[in-house]
């Protein structure tokens, strides 16, 4: 029996070794090596791998148009699968493909038009997505270089391409990976989850043209299947802990404030649980400021995430302090900084 090898790639591996691996015929070897090289912030490394792979080198300013490609895994757990839709193609019969295409576009739009960001890496990264991944697969994720969507089991969960905020949430994991790179454990992990919920929700609000008081502030509304009797979504930023309370799913475990912070080793130290606290702080800020949440509140969060000051192991208080500093530098001593301090104080996180 052939023993499968899972090499762990990190920055200790010399670039020339990664280059060698990246050229391998075996995608399980070349894939991780290429991703590691591609993550490397050095443009030099990126140019070298481009040359080695013989692909077209990016020229000049990245495009203001997304470059989306949708693949179909055919219910296998493989990526990318068979190419079924390119950027300029008309809608196809498969609604899942069309939804994935539209959701990638909505995400690209918010980041470009509101924050001036060119795709996930701010260098025009093509947006690839694989749909129909696995059999009755109850999940969606960003694998480090592309999106992966399951169909859901049609019992507890429907198709993961349905809610646009889920698509935005996952792609934002890519943005975080290319910026603050928050470690996916404990409080930094909960912040990683929370910024994905924040921008996932903002992508939905921006697409629907909803102001902060019109938005539902739910994550995953429309995703729960017919066998979930009591649930509206997976998370609520407005009222963490109230999204579901069901016989099969259990009860939404999210706390609203530090008083009910959950200490656990499960779920990477509760990354999907304690994210309720920074989620609610953002909701309070956005509704306090009023108008469109992606404008002032969203800009403070975006500049904090991408400004280069946020460390990868930041805790809630580090993040809160930085949002306050960001609010001051963007808007001076006005309503914004007062609203930021008030929001963090309400959830019990010190911001000064």
């Amino acid at each position: 029996m052939k023993r499968a090898i899972h090499p762990v790639f990190c920055t200790i591996v010399p670039p020339h070794v990664l280059d060698k691996l990246a050229q391998s015929e075996d995608p399980t070897v070349s894939g991780p090596a290429r991703r590691t090289l591609e993550h490397d912030s050095l443009q030099r490394t990126r140019r070298r791998i481009t040359t080695l792979r013989g692909a077209a080198a990016p020229t000049g300013t990245p495009s203001d148009k997304p470059q989306r490609t949708i693949y179909d895994a055919g219910h296998q757990e493989v990526t990318p699968g068979r190419k079924v839709h390119a950027e300029g193609d008309s809608p196809v019969k498969d609604a899942t493909v069309n939804r994935a295409h539209a959701g990638l576009g909505a995400t690209f739009d918010l980041y470009l038009k509101v924050y001036g960001r060119h795709s996930i890496d701010d260098s025009g990264l093509p947006l690839d997505a694989t749909v129909h991944y696995g059999e009755k697969y109850d999940n969606a994720f960003w694998d480090g270089s592309q999106m992966v969507f399951g169909d859901g089991d049609n019992d507890l969960f429907l198709d993961f391409t349905i809610p646009v905020d889920v698509i935005g949430h996952e792609l934002t994991h890519g943005v975080t990976q290319h910026t603050a790179n928050l470690e996916y454990y404990g409080q930094s992990g909960a912040l990683n989850e929370s910024v994905s919920d924040v921008f996932g929700s903002l992508i939905k609000q921006y697409a629907l043209g909803q102001s902060a008081d019109q938005a539902d502030w739910l994550i995953g509304a429309g995703l729960l299947g017919p066998n979930v009797d009591r649930g509206v979504a997976l998370r609520s930023m407005k009222e963490p802990g109230t999204a579901y309370d069901d016989n099969v799913l259990g009860k939404d475990p999210q706390p609203t404030t530090m008083e009910h912070y959950v200490r656990t080793s499960r779920d990477n130290g509760g990354v999907h649980i304690n994210s309720g606290i920074p989620n609610h702080a953002f909701y309070l800020l956005a509704t306090d400021l009023g108008g469109n949440a992606w404008e002032r509140a969203g800009k403070i969060w975006y500049a904090t995430l991408t400004g280069g000051e946020l460390s990868s192991d930041a805790d809630f208080a580090d993040f809160a302090r930085l949002t306050a500093a960001t609010a001051r530098s963007l808007f001076g001593e006005g309503d914004e900084i007062q609203a930021v301090l008030k929001a963090w104080s309400s959830v019990g996180v010190p911001a000064s």
Binding site: F141, W142, E193, G250, N268, V271, H272
Partner: protein
Amino acid sequence: MRIAITRTGGFAGIERRAELDTTGRPDATHVQALAHRALASAAEEGTAVTGVPDGFRYEISVDGRTIHCADPHLTHDQRELIRFVLKEGA
């Protein structure tokens, strides 16, 4: 042979656990061989598992030996065992 699988993480962050005893099952030989292969191809016990944000993470215990693995870096045998136990187990 007792096989227990716990799945954590995922977009929803909802945990799922299932256990299966192969004793008396007509497919016992097949399932036991599959479990052996799934464990043989796993990283050493105690090694950190590199997953992706929102990717499922799995803990597989077979007669007291426990291994960890994570999507999307599963072997074919691990995928098959996980799918089987989460579906057939209780």
